[in-house]
């Protein structure tokens, strides 16, 4: 992929991912030999600029979490580079990696599951301090309180256990823990998916506040497209281990280019009966193919409403089709190469877009 940071040319990328692959081997047979791999992430490249929020959306199982985890090297990536703050995380030796950890942190999907039920809030938030500082108890306590203030948790709760909190509060604990070491980059892996609607907003607001105050950079993973629209600056749409489209927020939501992005956006219900009554959804047929056995050619060719012969053969490259917009689709290639794509495809595309608008 070309240099990904065109719109924010002023800002330099903090995170830069190139050709990231994460394959989980499958063993089978009498001798338990490797017979294949779950290609959870299969060649993903993108940049995240300093202070920016990159949204990552896609269907369940398309590899979003895997990207997030491989980025922080919680998984050993199969291939590719992950440069964060100038160092390639993917090839760092364990010691250096450990020293690097404070600058990149993660907030997890399930606030219940990501907190050890047998540790107090203070211990949970203080754990990174235990690991990376040699401060004395007082200093640590002071920092823990400061963090609790920052995320809006009452200091009185310091000695309580996670099960005594509501979901939103728990997620705050998780965020406080991620903030403890003053990270610059945080991967938020569906931080609101497990929360009630009325609480989701609180957490998202908190994340935004913190970003404003501390200049954080987020990779915001979610399948809630409305929320991503709210929080992200740019959005990457993933399908089956690959990025289908990577565009600035407004551009994407106004006019998705990749057929999958289009289908995805059309499927999101809007809290407006009038709109809903008239809206035409693109209903995708069939199921997502298994990442262990992705189709030949374009990953989306099995479900794509605009599939062409070439899609079943050649894998499309992620290419910049408009300034700042990257799409991996043969339709785009035709658009740019031949000026006009085949009339049929073009017409249909217009029809559908017209109705979405």
């Amino acid at each position: 992929m070309a240099d990904g940071g065109s719109p924010g040319a002023l800002r330099k990328p903090l995170v830069s991912v190139r050709g990231l692959k994460m394959h989980f081997p499958i063993y089978a047979g009498i001798l338990r030999r490797k017979v294949g791999a779950v290609k959870a992430v299969d060649g993903v490249s993108f940049d995240i600029l300093e202070g920016e929020t990159l949204g990552l959306v896609g269907e369940s199982g398309c590899g979003k979490s895997t990207v997030g985890r491989a980025l922080l090297r919680l998984y050993e990536p199969t291939a590719g580079q992950v440069v964060i703050g100038g160092e390639d995380i993917a090839s760092l030796p364990p010691d250096a990696l450990r020293r690097k950890r404070p600058m990149m942190q993660m907030v997890f999907q399930d606030p219940q599951a990501s907190l050890n039920p047998r540790m107090t809030v203070a211990a949970i938030i203080g754990e990174p301090l235990d690991e990376h500082t040699d401060w004395d108890e007082d200093k640590k306590t002071a920092r823990v309180y400061e963090l609790m203030d920052q995320v809006g948790l009452n200091r009185r709760f310091a000695n309580r256990y996670p099960h005594e909190f509501s979901g939103g509060q728990r997620q705050r604990i998780g965020i406080a823990r991620a903030l403890a070491l003053n990270p610059r980059f945080i991967v938020c892996d569906e931080p609101i998916a497990a929360l009630d609607v009325s609480i989701q907003a609180q957490v998202v607001n908190l994340l935004e506040d913190l970003q404003d105050r501390l200049g954080l950079t987020y990779l915001f993973i979610s399948h809630d497209l409305s929320m991503v629209r709210h929080i992200a600056d740019r959005v990457a749409v993933m399908y089956l281990g690959q990025i289908a489209e990577l565009s600035p927020r407004e551009a994407l939501y106004a006019r998705p280019l990749h057929p999958y992005a289009r289908a995805l956006l059309s499927a999101v219900p809007e809290a407006d009966p009038t709109l809903e009554a008239t809206r035409q959804r693109i209903i995708l047929k069939g199921d997502v193919p298994s990442p262990a056995n992705p189709p030949k050619g374009c990953n989306f060719c099995t479900r794509c409403p605009q599939v062409m012969a070439v899609c079943r053969d050649v894998e499309p490259e992620l290419a910049e089709v408009e300034p700042g917009r990257f799409v991996a689709c043969h339709l785009m290639a035709m658009d740019t190469a031949g000026g006009h794509a085949s009339p049929g495809a073009e017409v249909r595309e217009h029809n559908q877009q017209g109705e979405v608008k």
Binding site: N116, E127, P128, R155, H163, R177
Partner: protein, 307 residues
């Protein structure tokens, strides 16, 4: 900080909840009292009832009068075939049986937890450790116990004296042959825990494996371990009595419940109470420990506790 003085309220902690739930389990509470009673009987009893459990009247004529007596004020549980006081023997024997149960359980739990955690956490040694567990499961217990007692008795007895030595040996032998179940349970639990997000969270912080184990894994396998522990006590007490039954236990002048029971069975026709007392003591202990384990299982399961 200005507000460090904020009063940090004392919380019940998770143990408070466990206790609250445990108290609701009638069977477990009864069992706890029963076991407490038995423990007091064995530990404090001898301080009150000061007859030497091995005292034999050396004057033969007197000794013959004292043999095989039924319950009386002087000997509330009667006397045995050599005129020894059964109450004193029961108390003394109880000390050893309870101690064997507890210590053997600790040994088994320690090994089981270590193996289970290692196998569950480190994929690379999992296969090896599990084969080891299979191996131990498949080994015949009796020859194994015999060999261990044979190989190490003298060395251990030389260092610790014959009584403590035998005690240690029996306890180790029982422990070493009964850790496998715990290891399997713990491994299963660890395999699941390892995938929980808080372990991932710790990893993302940069917590090294050994601290992940001590800080995050171990406290969370506590409940199956505790339950295994109570069952382990029960099993160890029974194993000790079977060892006595097979003549492998403690020295003969060293009463334990198991040995008293074994000796009593030979006399079951003539003096059935000799079987009843130790039999009852063993059964009651094991029964209460089992009930306590049951209560603990409920109390420690947050799903049940939440209800």
């Amino acid at each position: 900080m200005t507000e460090t003085a904020v009063q940090i309220e004392k919380v019940r902690g998770p143990w408070g909840d466990v206790w609250a739930q445990f108290r609701k389990h009638k069977g477990a509470m009864t069992a706890l009292f029963l076991l407490g009673g038995l423990a007091v009987f064995c530990l404090i009893g001898p301080l009150v009832w000061r007859i030497d459990p091995n005292f034999i009247e050396s004057d033969t004529v007197k000794m013959f009068k004292m043999r095989n007596q039924g319950p009386s004020l002087a000997h509330p549980l009667g006397t045995d075939q050599l005129g020894r006081d059964m109450l004193a023997r029961m108390m003394f024997g109880g000390r050893i049986s309870l101690a064997v149960g507890t210590v053997a359980m600790l040994v088994a739990i320690f090994i089981g937890t270590t193996v289970g955690v290692m196998a569950g956490f480190f994929r690379r040694i999992d296969g090896l450790l599990m084969r080891l567990t299979d191996l131990f499961l498949a080994l015949p217990l009796l020859p194994l116990l015999l060999v261990m007692i044979f190989l190490f008795r003298d060395t251990v007895a030389g260092i610790l004296g014959p009584r403590l030595g035998t005690f240690l040996l029996i306890v180790m032998a029982i422990g070493l042959t009964s850790w496998m179940q715990a290891a399997r349970v713990v491994r299963g639990e660890v395999l699941a825990l390892k995938e929980r997000e808080f372990v991932l969270a710790a990893r993302s912080i940069g917590t090294p494996s050994r601290r992940i184990i001590t800080r995050h894994i171990l406290p969370n396998v506590l409940s199956p371990v505790l339950v295994a522990a109570t069952l382990g006590i029960a099993a160890a007490i029974i194993t000790e009595s079977v060892l006595s039954f097979l003549g492998l236990g403690f020295p003969p002048d060293f009463p334990t419940w198991g040995r008293l029971l074994y000796d009593g069975i030979a006399e079951i026709r003539t003096y059935p109470e000799r079987v009843i007392w130790p039999g009852l003591a063993i059964s009651l202990t094991v029964l209460s420990v089992n009930y306590i384990g049951d209560g603990l299982r409920d109390a420690l399961d947050p799903r049940i506790r939440g209800r």
